[in-house]
């Protein structure tokens, strides 16, 4: 009960503490402030610009519905509230969205606006908007964009950026895919992006960054994906378009055609955000719509590789460097040597193969394993490490140089890298050629445990057949899983149980004897106490005295007290003649009083006789 109460109290303290913490955090939040930004400070006549006033440190404020500026029509189109928590510091802010329609050319100053916060007021800074003279939009173009899907498509865009337009076959060209979403449409990427097209390979797309960008007067949340493209054939071809699907929220489609009848599109500009839905998405029903995003394709000129490729060229295109290392340096013929070679740089690492031995005569080579550590997001820069196990078939003094060839697209020629010969010491005679070699293409690793038994200089043959068989069949079953083993355990088990039984019986017996001795000792002590008290009749006194002698003798000799007579007691305690006589007299007196009745003799016992009997009894010690 106490524990439950303590737990409840602890929870309450925790809850109160947490609430208190948040109250304190809120109390120490920054004092209210107001900012105002234009989505674009340049516009043309007839275009719209978004104005956003953000009041930080307030949950509600009183902002104007309309801002009066000559030559501009500024109407509030939405309000939203934001809460942010940074390092337990909660900040609330109210955002007021205004749409500005430029009615005429010129430089316009949007005056500071006073935002009332209860008893306080904050002021926005003054803003400047430059409006260039340009023809306004025709009413026909606006009416074409009235259709809902077009409005939805305005909320997103896709872009493929390929900075390099000319490359060689296999050359890795970095590329970027940019997907833009209007954040007010609560976008969600549903599918993709994918780069359509043939004749090239792409690295796995990596999402690099996410930024807020203003494009053509609109703010977009732009997600950038990075990849690299490598052409597989020469020629001119198109990469893309990039396709993706996104889900966005748009106001529910109206059944009737609206032109100027749309009450919230104040300027009849078919801006999907002129709808109050975007200010208060929960105020009315929204429609989630899947929109397809498609970029413009990028053109790409691909040049073929020169024809004079080195023999060990595997298709690597880029710029690389090679380091090699071999271990151990001292081996016997047939022993494995692990050669570690690292190809680092920038290029198409998927086509980079392990550097090869320049002269592999006298060497047996096993398939290499490789691992790649990339230095960038898309894997065109990094280091690929190969481990190759080779074993010498004959005496050697050096590991032959390793060669690696690649095509350098900057120099536009093939480059062959050649390591130095590594000095090693191979001892022993010639090893037999391996009968079975697992040299599978793509095999990753070969164990160094191979050939742990050292090969002999000459081929060996297996030993002879054995013609003898044991009388009984043998079994793979381990002993502990065989029933016979567990049956055999009954032998020591029974022996143990027998030991336990014997020991228990012995202990019980010893216990009984101890109880009997204790009872006799108790009886002897009780008799002596009564005899010393001296308030007994002579019959009782001598009877108790003789009983005390019997009990003491029984304790000394471990016999039945009823079987003790005067002679036995005297012998047991090795009494002298005088004491024997006293003992005999004591027994006779006791018998006499017991069998002849209480009135035979004196009524009381003299103190001298009592003293004599007590002395005799106390002298009975072994």
């Amino acid at each position: 009960m106490n524990g439950t109460r303590r737990r409840r109290t602890a929870w309450r303290v925790l809850l109160v503490g947490t609430l208190g913490f948040f109250v304190v955090v809120c109390a120490f939040a920054d004092s209210p402030s107001a900012t105002a930004v234009l989505s674009n400070s340049e516009a043309a006549v007839g275009e719209t610009v978004q104005l956003q006033i953000r009041v930080t440190g307030a949950r509600s404020a009183d902002a104007p519905e309309k801002i009066a500026v000559d030559g501009l029509q500024i109407y509030r189109t939405g309000t939203s509230q934001h809460f942010e928590m940074n390092n337990f510091n909660v900040t609330s802010s109210v955002i007021y969205d205004y749409t500005i329609l430029a009615m005429k050319a010129g430089t316009f100053k949007i005056p500071p606006q006073t935002i009332r916060l209860g008893g306080n007021a904050v002021h926005t800074p003054e803003l400047t908007l430059n409006v260039a003279d340009s023809p306004g939009r025709s009413s026909s173009s606006r009416s074409n964009r009235d259709a809902q899907p077009e409005s939805a498509n305005q909320l997103v865009f896709a872009e493929l950026v390929v900075p390099k337009k000319v490359a060689f076959v296999g050359e890795m060209v970095p590329a970027e895919i940019r997907l833009g979403f209007d954040p007010r449409a609560h976008p969600e990427l549903a599918d993709g992006p994918e780069i359509a097209g043939q004749g090239f390979t792409t690295q796995k797309l990596q999402q690099a960054q996410q930024n807020l960008e203003t494009i053509n007067g609109r703010t977009y949340d732009v997600i950038t994906f990075k990849t690299a493209i490598a052409a597989t054939r020469a020629g001119r071809f198109e990469i893309g378009p990039v396709k993706a699907k996104a889900r966005v929220s748009v106001p529910r489609r109206q059944t009737t055609q609206r032109s100027r009848s749309r009450p919230f599109d104040l300027f009849n500009l078919d801006d999907p955000f002129s709808d109050p839905f975007f200010a208060d998405p929960f105020g009315r029903l929204a429609e989630r719509r899947e929109v397809e995003m498609e970029s413009e394709p990028a053109t790409f000129d691909v040049k073929p590789l020169p024809p004079d490729a080195p023999p060990n060229f595997s298709g690597a295109v880029g710029n690389f460097a090679v380091t090699t290392e071999a271990k151990p340096k001292r081996v016997q013929v047939g022993d494995p040597i692990t050669v570690t070679s690292t190809v680092s740089g920038r290029g198409n690492f998927d086509r980079v193969n392990a550097p090869a031995l320049e002269d592999d005569q006298g060497w047996h080579k096993y398939p290499s394993s490789s691992k790649f550590k990339q230095d960038d997001e898309v894997g065109i820069s990094g280091a690929k490490t190969f481990e190759t196990v080779i074993s010498p078939n004959e005496k050697k003094q050096a590991l032959p140089p390793l060669v690696f060839s690649y095509f350098d697209p900057v120099k536009e020629k093939y480059v062959t890298l050649r390591s130095d010969a590594t000095p090693i010491s191979v001892e022993g005679g010639a090893a037999p050629a391996p009968a079975v070699v697992a040299s599978q293409p793509g095999a990753a690793t070969l164990a160094t445990a191979a050939a742990s038994a050292k090969p002999s200089p000459k081929p060996q043959d297996i030993l002879y057949q054995l013609t003898e068989r044991p009388k009984a069949a043998q079994s793979f079953t381990p002993l502990y899983a065989q029933p016979l083993f567990w049956t055999a355990q009954f032998v020591p088990l029974f022996a143990l149980l027998g030991l336990i039984s014997w020991k228990a019986t012995q202990a019980r017996r010893e216990n009984r004897e101890a109880q009997r001795i204790a009872a006799l000792q108790h009886e002897a002590a009780e008799l002596m106490r009564k005899l010393r008290r001296g308030d007994s009749s002579p019959q009782e006194y001598f009877s108790q005295a003789s009983r005390a002698v019997r009990v003491k003798t029984a304790l000394a000799r471990n016999i039945d007290p009823n079987a003790v007579d005067a002679e036995t007691a005297a012998t047991a305690f090795d009494l002298d003649e005088n004491e024997r006589t006293q003992l005999r007299r004591l027994f006779e007196r006791s018998d006499e009083l017991r069998y002849s009745g209480a009135h035979n003799g004196a009524e009381t016992i003299s103190p001298e006789s009592r003293r004599e009997v007590l002395d005799l009894l106390e002298s009975l010690r072994t």
Binding site: V437, A438, A444, T448, A449, L463, R469, Q474, P478, P492
Partner: protein
């Protein structure tokens, strides 16, 4: 009911006692025939004859050794190594099987599992010997403890012996576990197929982890359909086709 059961059991025992020598006589003849086939260099026939004996459960280290020799002569190094390993599993001190295994491994360039440090230290005895040691130790400890419980005075020697015996028992159980689950334990299997690749997934086109020459050792960790997930040499792990490997312990 009880007397009837006793009579049935007795009859069975008598029948077996007559049948067993007959079975042994038959298998002896089969073994001699297989040896003769081998001597006549009819290795495939010898393999068939030895295999029949293996299937009948008449296992012995010599039988597996001879079968290994027959496979070696037939050029099947994977099965040769498998049968030498089986011979050594039955008799770890089989010198001929040990020698021939080294030769075939060398020829086949088969990969071996690296035993752990603990396994290397525990190699002085096998699982059965550790089992016997554990049994003796636990009984000695039990007797000592009983004696201590019933003794009037605690004997220092009995206490020491109990502790030592229990320690030996614990050590032996640990050794049994390590050896049974180690590189040469119950799960040991030998690659018998050709061109076997351990792969990262249960698909023939999955990336390769390791090329396994015939006769290579693997330790079966789990089975999934036609694939075995196994511990491989070089501390690797991968999926191996189940038909490409056979367990050493039948």
């Amino acid at each position: 009911m009880k007397p009837r059961k006793l009579i049935v059991n007795l009859c069975c025992a008598i029948t077996y006692s007559f049948l067993i020598p007959s079975v042994f006589a038959q298998s002896d003849a089969q073994f001699a025939k297989a040896n003769q086939e081998y001597a006549d260099r009819n290795f495939q026939e010898a393999i068939d004859d030895y295999d029949q004996l293996v299937r009948s459960g008449q296992w012995s280290a010599n039988l597996f050794y001879d079968l290994g020799n027959a496979y070696f002569r037939a050029g099947d190094f994977g099965h040769a190594i498998l049968n030498y390993e089986r011979a050594l599993a039955l008799d770890r001190h089989h010198p001929e099987a040990d020698a021939n295994l080294r030769i075939v491994r060398d020829e086949a360039r088969a990969l071996e599992l690296t035993p752990t440090l603990v396994e290397r230290y525990l190699k002085f005895a096998n699982v059965n010997q550790f089992t016997i040691a554990a049994a003796i130790a636990i009984w000695v400890a039990a007797f000592c403890i009983v004696a201590l419980i019933f003794a009037r005075r605690r004997s220092g020697a009995a206490i020491t012996l109990s502790i030592v015996s229990l320690s030996i028992f614990a050590g032996a159980v640990f050794a049994i576990y390590e050896l049974d689950n180690g590189s040469n334990g119950r799960a040991l299997a030998i690659v018998t197929g050709m061109n076997v690749q351990a792969r990262v997934a249960t698909a023939d086109n999955a990336n390769s982890v390791l090329a396994l020459p015939p006769g290579s050792e693997i330790r079966v960790l789990s089975n999934r359909g036609d694939w075995i997930y196994a511990a491989l040499p070089n501390s690797l792990r991968g999926w191996v086709p189940a038909k490409s490997a056979e367990a050493v312990r039948l």
